[in-house]
């Protein structure tokens, strides 16, 4: 809400500066967003008078006004015609700075003498846009005829406009009077209410119009007045200036008067051309099926049955509280006006305004809930303004239909409750003073205080509301700093699992950079995680239909792949979709973070000169019928490049076993016995065939990792190889044995034996390891693979694996002979079971 500061001053008598008032109001909860000083750049612009207008010798569309500034006469070239000899105007001589009305962005330009079609112009008559007052550039600003000649324009126009950012709970603050009441309370001055005394003829009956309210729940009060002998024309400068400064465009006397009173008192009013109201009746009701209305903006609207309307004897004439009808609009020909001042149901107005996307100054006020007491007061003031500016003669109707009067309820509280809530003591006199300054009624009964809010403060309904009034009027700076004392709380539900911190620490320790990505994504982005031709999905079902997926599950996946699709990479599921997405790029909640992470990898590829190891640890969203979705924390890591260092020399290498090393460490740190987790071939279209694995523990899928399928990588614009690791951390937690437990090691030295064997290439390392472990019992402590070789030095179809084995006994030092015996058992078992050959 924009409030001309002089208007606020007029209603409060406050003499403090605009900055001081802005600070105090802000601290009391009436936040000032900006102070506009329209005159800041008007250093040389003055009030001038048009002394003479000559025609331009070379251009019919231009004229040559001569301006008297009080000290000299200056001729300029002008393209506007909306002024006459004798008018006072805003005059900018050469050298003044003005806003460029043709620039897209606000730009100040210095005015220079210019030759226009052969005539020199040594100044300019200004429009409101050039002055930065409004966007209106239609003609030049004609000032009040009383504006003193030669006076700086800033003084003549009165200067500062305070822009408030008001809160939803204070409909009374959407008015100059409401802010004035607050300011007066803070400064201890008296509010000078502009509302006139009741007029003797206020209860007078009129035969011309009957009023009716169908539903008092939707319209608590409907008051009206007639204005006769209407003169529609331009309002005086005083009215127009204030409207413009408040951001409301002046239109004509009657409309300006209603807007002026709305700004001043907060009550929206509407003016109907009385002659167009049919049947001498004005009523309020919801629309009937099939009813239509052409609104002021020229739109023919079909009215839904919940729309609250103003009707005449034949049908709707206005959307109550939102917009008037075109047929009953006040025009130059109007001679009698019906002024409406009503209290409509806030929810009904809010819904209609939202539904039609018509949010106006009026609807904003109605939807916050206005007090019914205000209607008649605003009507009285509006009639006064109209009469003052000579735009008509008012007659009140009996037409105050107020079926259900209601008064604000008093609130009772004990004085000591204030200290109990605030943690600071207030004198009773302070409490009384603060509340009286805000015009609350007070009654005291010992330690009990009974507070009756004024009619405009229906937001105050409970002791805490009253306490807030006292606290903010006295000032929050009275509140001291203390720390809460008392008992500590019990374990809380939903307590954050500190193991989540550890997951991040482990990943960072392993060289990965943590990313925080958006949960919002697009179905298309998730659909790119399988090769494009696989699903053959229509564009409206980007993730594919159930039949297509059933086939993919059958033909393109093994059991591990299906199990991955069941939860950790559930691309065949319906994602949660937004009803109102910002764009199609983020229309759904993610089922997996992998798509976004591959994009992040791609974006970093352009400039990263170091490792490309990234992870994200945020929830995925898995829909559940009739319940909130499950939001499991899935870890998503992507790897584009990894450098390992030999002294200073860095070489890039990523292979599948590197990714396995990461998953093993992560899973082991989470308390899962890694030697019991099995890694099996994974066939899934997101991953490259033959280069991916699934990690299961006791039949539960914990993780999947592998090289990203080349087509999928290409879909993310990645032309280098990429690896991905997905970990279902909740499943890992479920598999965890909890805190690690200690087991003693042998205090005697170990005997070390290396072993290199050649086996068929199909034999897996797991099989070899298993045989070594079984045959090596009980002395074998560990068997660590340290090399793999395939190539010319061994036969085709074979590979060589090399292990470092360690033997020890718990109770003695092994002799060479004992160690050899144990080692030979291992060798024989490998020869016997796998046909392994020892390699020299």
């Amino acid at each position: 809400m924009r409030v001309p500061f002089e208007w606020l001053r007029e209603l409060t008598g406050i003499e403090a500066s605009v900055d001081d008032v802005a600070t105090r109001l802000t601290n009391a909860g009436f936040e000032v967003g900006a102070i506009h000083r329209a005159g800041e750049h008007w250093d040389r612009i003055v009030v001038g008078e048009v002394a003479r207008i000559d025609p331009h010798p070379n251009a019919d569309r231009l004229n040559l006004p001569t301006v008297n500034t009080g000290s000299e006469e200056i001729q300029v070239v002008c393209g506007a015609w909306n002024f006459e000899v004798g008018d006072r105007i805003a005059f900018a001589p050469a050298g003044a700075r003005l806003w460029d009305p043709y620039a897209d962005e606000p730009v100040l330009k210095e005015l220079k003498p210019t030759r226009i079609r052969g005539v020199v112009s040594r100044g300019m008559l200004c429009s409101t846009k050039e002055l930065g007052i409004s966007d209106d550039h239609e003609g030049i600003l004609v000032l009040d005829p009383d504006a003193p000649l030669g006076q700086p324009l800033a003084e003549a126009l009165g200067g500062e406009v305070v822009e408030f950012e008001l809160k939803a709970n204070r409909p009374d603050a959407l008015s100059v009077l409401g802010i004035a009441r607050e300011a007066a309370a803070l400064y201890g001055t008296e509010v000078r209410s502009p509302i006139p005394e009741a007029r003797p003829n206020e209860d007078g009956a009129s035969e011309s119009v009957v009023l009716g309210i169908d539903d008092a729940a939707l319209c608590a009060r409907y008051s009206a007045a007639l204005v006769h002998d209407v003169k529609v024309g331009e309002s005086p400068a005083r009215i127009r200036d204030r409207l413009e400064q408040a951001g409301v465009r002046p239109i004509s006397t009657i409309v300006d008067a209603t807007n002026y009173v709305m700004l001043e008192l907060g009550q929206p009013l509407h003016a109907f051309d009385c002659e167009t109201v049919r049947g001498g009746y004005i009523g309020v009701r919801t629309a009937r099926p099939g009813e239509r209305l052409v609104t002021l903006d020229g739109q023919d609207r079909e009215l839904t049955p919940e729309t609250l309307c103003i009707v005449d004897a034949e049908g709707p004439v206005a959307l109550a509280g939102v917009m008037g009808g075109l047929d009953t609009e006040v025009t130059d020909a109007t001679s009698t006006v019906l002024l409406e001042s009503a209290t409509f149901d806030p929810i009904s107005i809010r819904r209609t305004a939202h539904r039609l996307n018509l949010r106006s100054e009026a609807s904003r006020r109605f939807e916050k809930g206005l007090p019914p007491e205000l209607t008649v007061l605003a009507l009285r003031r509006c009639v006064q303004v109209i009469e003052e500016i000579g735009a008509g003669r008012g007659e009140f109707l009996t037409a105050d239909a107020y079926p259900a009067p209601s008064d604000p309820e008093p609130v009772s509280l004990a004085f000591d409750r204030i200290e109990r809530l605030m943690g600071v003591a207030y004198d009773r006199s302070e409490v009384r003073q603060a509340l009286s300054a805000l015009e609350f009624g007070l009654e005291e009964d010992g330690d009990e205080l009974r507070v009756t809010p004024p009619f405009w403060r229906r937001d105050v309904t409970a002791p805490a509301d009253v306490i807030e009034e006292v606290a903010r009027l006295v000032g929050y700076e009275r509140i001291p700093d203390t720390l809460p004392t008392g008992q500590v709380m019990d374990l809380a539900p939903g307590e954050i699992d500190e193991r989540d911190d550890e997951v991040r620490d482990v990943m960072a320790g392993l060289g990965f950079a943590e990313c925080v990505t958006y949960a919002l994504t697009s179905e298309a982005r998730m659909a790119r995680l399988v090769p494009p031709d696989l699903l053959d999905a229509p564009p409206d079902a980007p993730l594919g239909d159930a039949d297509a997926w059933a086939e993919v599950r059958e033909t393109a996946m093994n059991d591990a792949g299906r199990s991955l699709t069941d939860r950790l990479l559930p691309l065949d599921r319906e994602p949660l979709r937004l009803r109102n997405p910002l764009s199609m790029e983020e229309n759904a909640l993610r089922l997996t973070g992998l798509g976004t992470m591959l994009e992040t990898l791609r974006a970093n590829r352009r400039h990263a000169d170091r490792d490309l190891l990234l992870f994200d640890y945020q929830p995925a969203f898995l829909a559940r019928d009739g319940d909130l979705p499950e939001e499991p924390n899935f870890l998503t890591a992507v790897i584009g490049e990894r450098v390992s260092a030999d002294r200073w020399n860095e070489t890039g290498t990523v292979e599948l076993p590197f990714v396995r090393g990461v998953v093993d460490e992560l899973v082991a740190r989470s308390g899962v016995p890694t030697d019991q987790a099995s890694h099996d071939d994974l066939q899934h279209p997101t991953f490259a065939a033959g280069a991916a694995a699934a990690v299961t523990y006791k039949g539960h899928l914990l993780a999947a990792y592998g090289e990203v399928d080349a087509e999928v990588a290409a879909a993310f614009d990645l032309d280098e190889r990429a690896w991905a690791l997905l970990v279902d951390m909740p499943a890992v937690r479920a598999a965890s044995a909890g805190a690690p437990s200690f087991s003693a090691w042998s205090e005697y030295p170990s005997a070390l034996r290396d072993l290199a064997i050649v086996v068929d290439a199909e034999v897996t390392q797991a099989e070899v390891q298993d045989i070594i472990q079984r045959a090596g019992r009980p002395l074998l402590q560990s068997a660590r693979l340290f090399d793999e070789y395939r190539g010319q030095q061994i036969p085709a179809g074979k590979r060589s694996l090399a292990y470092a084995l360690s033997y020890a006994a718990p109770d003695r030092t092994l002799t060479d002979k004992q160690a050899d015996r144990a080692h030979n058992r291992v060798v024989r078992a490998l020869q016997h079971r796998l046909g392994a050959e020892l390699r020299g």
């Binding site: 809010r350 925080v516 937004l578 190891l613």
Partner: protein
Amino acid sequence: MQERLDALLSAARTELAAAADDGAMEQWRVTHLGRRSEVTGLLRSVGSLPREERRAAGQAANAARRELEEAFETRQSELRRGADGAQADVTMPGYPVRLGSLHPLTRTLREIRRVLAPLGFRAVSGPEVEWDRYNFELLNIPADHPARDMWDTFHIHDKARPGELLLRTHTSPVQARVMEQIQPPVRVIVPGKVYRYEDRDASHEAEFMQVEGLAIDKHITMADLRGTLTYFVRAMFGPDRELRIRASYFPFTEPSAEAEMSCHACDGDGCPVCGGTGWIEILGSGMVHPKVLADVGYDPDVYQGFAFGMGVERIAMLKYGVTDIRSFYRNDLRFLRQLR
């Protein structure tokens, strides 16, 4: 004997000076001090000398051996100190060590948790997809209330219960969830992602992180709120920070307060960080509205307390001097590495 020893020592010293690595050193040790070395041979041969010469020869051979051992040790430590005993070039870069990094938002969240933990605040989390009831209704924001305009909301398609599922617009619904489940005393903070239907720019995000604080007991006051916030800004931004609060409005608190701290960049003198005012808006807060307490089953005549909420990105931007909120979600490694 002595001549042979002298010649041997001299030759061994020359060789030792040339030995530059572990291999050469080992070879030297085997040659000159090993079982088959000349000194060892000479020592063994002492027994075969005439009795009167034995004593002197034995002493000389042992002295030579000790001398060789000492020379070896000296050379060894020379080599360890640097080639040819020269000073190591300490300006050589270290071998590359590759730790990853935690996201600056994670670090900021942890710091907030760490700062508030000693005051008894436990960190809890709640769902990001929420019911309208928890996000609004239970926070004293009924349907069609104009206060709903304060939160532009993403709604979720749900045929079964249209209009009820949404992306939470603040972490406050977790307040209601916690209070529904446990009786006071309550002291929690709630970090987490929130969502607003809002176009992104340098200072607005559609997805961002908040931390909510809630303390409920029989006698928790607005002064306790102010004290907690003062403690918080000093712990986060330094002991010289001043806090000021002013009246505000949130539907779920009464009284409500906006908190500002004196600018940490200019100490309150006014600078671009604080827009020249010397003060920085840091969070919203207030005493929990009695209606909110009553709706979760607490007796508002017995229990009272405070709540506060802040944007984590805003705290992180102030701490790290980041000027565009979207940087946190671009995950550019150059950004992540700088703020590691």
